[in-house]
C-alpha cells in the first residue's frame, strides 16, 4: 500500500525546515544538516557533512553539480539518495 502521508509537513520551515534555492530561484523546503565529519586515518582531517532532506517531488530533474543556496551559502549537489518513500537526501559540497 503506497505511503500517502503529506510529506511537506516534515519539512515545514515554520517547524524545523529550511528553505533553499536551486535552479537559480526555485524554492524548496527541507531539513538542512551540517554535522561534524572526520576523514580518519593518518593525517585525519575534520570537516562537516552537509545534507538536505526534502520531498523528492519538490526537486524534479535534480542533477549532480547543481547549485543549492542555503542560508546564504552556496553548495553543489554531490549525491542524490531517494529513500523510496518519497523523500530524497541530497549530499552537498561547499562551493567555497
Amino acid at each position: 500500500m503506497p505511503f500517502t502521508e503529506d510529506l511537506s509537513q516534515f519539512v515545514d520551515p515554520d517547524e524545523h525546515g529550511t528553505t533553499a534555492q536551486y535552479k537559480g530561484s526555485v524554492s524548496v523546503n527541507g531539513i538542512f544538516d551540517n554535522g561534524s565529519y572526520v576523514v580518519s586515518g593518518d593525517a585525519a582531517v575534520e570537516g562537516t557533512q552537509p545534507t538536505f532532506l526534502c520531498v523528492e517531488a519538490d526537486v524534479p530533474a535534480l542533477e549532480h553539480d547543481e547549485e543549492f543556496l542555503i542560508d546564504g551559502v552556496t553548495y553543489y549537489v554531490d549525491g542524490i539518495k531517494p529513500d523510496g518513500t518519497g523523500m530524497v537526501l541530497i549530499a552537498l559540497r561547499l562551493a567555497e
Binding site: A43, G47, Q49
Partner: protein, 150 residues
C-alpha cells in the same frame, strides 16, 4: 645525551620539509588530532620500520647499517577532486625536492636517501574533497652496534 640516530633522521626530515611553499609551517610529527581547515594543506611525518641490513658488506663487529623508513603524509582539502589530486602532486614535488637536495639530510651518518611509493587517497564524503598522499622515504644510515646514538 644524543638521541637514537633514527630519531635524529626524523627530526632532520621535519626540519627539511618545514616552510615549503604549499604546506608552510603546517608540519606535524605523528599527529593524532584531526587537522582543521586552517591547518591544511599539511604534512604529517610518521616513523616507519627500521630494518637492519644483514649483508656482510654493510655491517661489522663495530657498526650496523640500517634502512629507516619515514612516511610523510600530505593532507589537503580542495575545491574539486581533480584539484585536490593536483595539489597533492604539487606537495609531492616540493617534498621530494626538499628531501633529495641532500641525500644525507645534513647528517654525517646518513649514507643515502631513496624515494619509495606514494599512495593517494581521495575522500568525497564531507563538505569538501579531502586528499591524502602517503609518501615513503628510506634512509640508509650507520650506527654503532652497542650505542644507537653513535
Amino acid at each position: 645525551m644524543a638521541l637514537h640516530r633514527a630519531e635524529q633522521i626524523v627530526e632532520a626530515v621535519i626540519a627539511n620539509i618545514t616552510g615549503l611553499t604549499t604546506t608552510g609551517d603546517n608540519v606535524f610529527r605523528s599527529r593524532t588530532a584531526e587537522l582543521p581547515d586552517n591547518r591544511t594543506p599539511a604534512l604529517v611525518v610518521y616513523l616507519g620500520p627500521d630494518a637492519p641490513r644483514s649483508d656482510g658488506g654493510s655491517s661489522s663487529y663495530r657498526y650496523i647499517d640500517g634502512d629507516l623508513t619515514v612516511f610523510v603524509v600530505a593532507a589537503v582539502k580542495g575545491r574539486t577532486d581533480a584539484l585536490t589530486e593536483t595539489k597533492l602532486n604539487l606537495i609531492r614535488k616540493e617534498v621530494t625536492i626538499a628531501l633529495m637536495a641532500d641525500h644525507t639530510q645534513g647528517l654525517s651518518f646518513v649514507i643515502d636517501t631513496t624515494e619509495g611509493q606514494a599512495v593517494p587517497e581521495i575522500n568525497g564524503d564531507g563538505d569538501k574533497p579531502v586528499g591524502r598522499l602517503r609518501m615513503e622515504f628510506t634512509f640508509h644510515y650507520r650506527r654503532s652496534r652497542t650505542d644507537p646514538s653513535a
